[in-house]
Amino acid sequence: MDSSQLLKGVLDMAVLATLTAEDGYGYDVVRRLRDAGLDDIGDASVYGTLRRLFAAGALSSYVVPSEEGPHRKYYGVTDAGRAMLKSQRDDWHAFASTISHLLSAQEAAR
C-alpha cells in the first residue's frame, strides 16, 4: 500500500502531535512532518487538515504580522484538540499493536 494512503487516516493525529509540541504556521507544520520522516505528505493535504481541525475546534489560530512579506497564520492546539489527540493516540496504540501482533503471528507461522 502506498504510504500516502496510510497517511490520510492518521494525518489529524500527526498534525495535532506536531502542534502540541509547539505552535506553528502552515508550511512550518509541513516541514516538521517531513523532517520527522513523512516525506510523501502533500502541502495542500496538511493545509486542508489544519483548516478542518480549526473548524472542528481542535485548533486555535492567530495571525503574526511579518515585516518582509505576507502575514503568517499560526495554529495552536486547544483543550478540545488535546483531548482529541489523546483519544486518537489510545486508538492508534490499540490498533497498531493489534496489527503488529497479527503481522508477527503470521510471519512466525510461515
Binding site: G26, Y27, D43, G48, P70, R72
Partner: protein, 419 residues
Amino acid sequence: MSTSTEATIRLDVASFVDEVRRHLADLSAEEREELTGGLEADLTERLEESRAAGDLHSVLGDPRRYAEELRAAAGLGSSTTSRRSRLSTTTERLRGWSSASGWPQNTIAWDFLVPLRPVWWVLRAWIAVQALDYWFGDWRHDWIPSFGGHLIGVVLLLVAIVVSVQIGRGEWWPETRSTGLPWYLLAAANVLAVVMLPVVLSDLPTSRDVRLASWWGAPVHPPTPQGVQLNGDPVRNIYAYDAEGRPLVGVQLYDQDGTPLAVASRTRWQARNYLVTYPWGLSEVSDGLMNVYPLPTREQPRRGLDTDAFTEADPPMVPAPPFVQVPAVAELPAEALEVFYAVTGTEPSAEPSEDEPDDTGPDKPRRDDTEEQDRSNRDRRTNQRDDPSDRDREQGSEGKRPDRTTSDRDGRGTGEPGD
C-alpha cells in the same frame, strides 16, 4: 537571495494562489479565505527553500489538483463542488460575469447551461470537421462530412469529437490560465466555431434532402404550397378558351376527384396598394368561390376581401386576358365523349338546356359530385340575378358555360344521327 528572485517568487506565488482560489470559487468567501489565508507566505517560504524559484507549478504541480487536495483534506470535497471546480477558467469567468450583472436570471440560465457543455463539445467538433470539409472536401456538403469518400469523414468526425470532449474535460489542453496563451487559443477556437456555425448550416440544405432520402428511404418534402401551382409557381388566375379559341367567362374548374381547382387567395403588395384577388359569388353570407375563372382583382389600400367591393365605385375587375383569341383545336371523335355525355346528360343538341337534360339524351342518374356542381351553379346564378350588371356582363360574353359551348359546337359540327 537577490531581490529580483524574490520578486519573481512573489509574482509566481500570487498567480498560483489566484488560480487555486479560482478552483475553490464555489466555496463561500469565508471558507475560501480560511483555506487559502496565509497560503502566500507558506508557498513563498516553500519556494525559497526548494530553490526552484521561477516555476511554482513544477514544485507543487497543477493548481487544480492542489485545490482538490486542499478541499479533500479540509473535508469540503463533495461531488458537486468537485465537479464545479473542474470547470474551465472560461466557464468560471462567464459565470462570474453573469452573477455580477445583478440579474439573478443570468445566473440561473448559466447554471442551466453548464450541464449542456458536452453538447457544445460535440457540436464544435462537428463544426470543425464541417469547416475542414468545406475548404478541402468536394462540393457536396452533408450532415456527416464526406471529404469525397465515405469513411474518412466519419472517422475524422469521431476523432474530432474525442479531442473536443477531452479538451472540454480539461484533459488534453494545458491548464487554462487566464493569462496564458493556451487559454486565448482555446477561446479563439470556440469563437471561430460559433462564427462558422451559420456558415456551415447555410451550406447544408443543398444536398440534405437527397441524402436524407437515401438514409431514410423517403424524400423530405417541403411544406405543401396552397392553391393551383404550375411548375412550382403559384397560379394567380386562369383564362379558359373554348375549342374554337374564344375566351370564356365563369368557368368552374374541378379536378378528377371533384376538388375545386382554386387558386390560393393571396394578396400582393403592388405600388403602395394591395392587389387583391376576389372570388366569384362573394357576399356577406358567402366566402365565394375561388375556382371560377377568370377571377376579378382590385387594387385597394386594405388587405383582405371587402364584401361590398362589387357595389363600390371601383369594383374588382377581371383583368384583360393574355390572348383575345387562341387558335381553335381539332375536335375529339364523338366516341371519345360518349361516357362523358352519358353521365352528364349534356347530349349535344341544337337547343341545349342547362338544367334539364334533353329528351333525346339518356336520363341516367347523376353522380353526386355532378349534382353538387349543379347546385353550386344554381346558387351562383341566383346570386348573379340579384345583380343586373353581372347578368348583363355574363350574357354579353361568348360561351358562358363550357358544357353548353361544347354542345353547341357538337350540335353544329358533328351532326350525329340521333339529332
